[in-house]
Symmetry: C2
Subunit: 208 residues, 2 copies
Amino acid sequence: MPKKVDHEARRLEIAEALWRIASTRGLDGVSLRDVAAEADISLGRLQHYFRTKDEMLVFALRHINTLADRRIRGRVGAIAARLGQEPPPRAVLRECLVGMLPLDGKSRVGALVGAAYFARAVHDERLRGEAVEGIPRLAELFAGLLRSAGERGELAAGRSLDPYTEAMLLISLVDGLTAYTLLGVQTGEEALERLDAHLERIFAGGGD
Amino acid sequence: MPKKVDHEARRLEIAEALWRIASTRGLDGVSLRDVAAEADISLGRLQHYFRTKDEMLVFALRHINTLADRRIRGRVGAIAARLGQEPPPRAVLRECLVGMLPLDGKSRVGALVGAAYFARAVHDERLRGEAVEGIPRLAELFAGLLRSAGERGELAAGRSLDPYTEAMLLISLVDGLTAYTLLGVQTGEEALERLDAHLERIFAGGGD
């Protein structure tokens, strides 16, 4: 199906133009015309692929999330290869969370597109659907990892929270750490140290 | 100094027009002209008070933060009056954090203006200054409360984190909980329950 492939490839090129704008001047006030210019195509051509800015934004966000997902799976796979077995739940959870922080160029662009999405989605119920579906799914995944860790006796002794609550706290935490890193309140390294301090509290091997 | 008072009053009226726009359709693509129309004044008049959208945004954000601060102090004062003494650090910290969540109309508008600020500030170093100064100051305040709680033996037994790290984790957490509440991923009540679960872990009176 070469036609379908072409269509998808062109949509990706447009999404990449959107990312370039998102990662330099941001998407506030950016029009379809601006994105068409950045992608070096006519407005009419762009509208053949995306009718609205929001449609384009959701496509770009989904694609960025897919790429992030692939990078994270790659890193989890590398740990598995190194260990010669399935990595422990803590390592998988940490790779997922670290992959969500803006620590390199790619994850930074993802976070910037995420920031633009956020600013628009709070006012648009249809756009919010993306977060409303994706976040609980992610929280379920994390809750599952926390449950496995608990079954393996790898959670810190003492009071532990309901896994879904803990998962939503982790996702919220990474979201805030990302925001304050993008705002320059802290460096990426500091964000990572803070995340690790929190994970250490959840997982710390016995003794406390 | 009636002139100065007038000037300030007019700036507040304009800021309130900006909030109304922020809390309904958002600030993406909103021009000075749009805000002037909402404030029912001419563009020239508005520009007498604010030269740019960002100047207006920072003023609106500061004012919202001042109002939030006043509400929080009021609630801490009410607890003090009820107890007949200074409230414990945990209660003060909780009031501050709860006051940052979008649980009612006022804090919701504050969070929406904050979202618009965030989307712009990630691309503008001058705008970022607001967060870069304000957040570490808030983290110091929270770290101080955590230190007092520690001295009074009110922190949970076991491993406790460096107070500044704990403070930045709390601020990040509330930021993320706010985002996911605005996006409709969770209700305000759920955000509050999750925050309380985390606070309980930090403060839980002995036994674990």
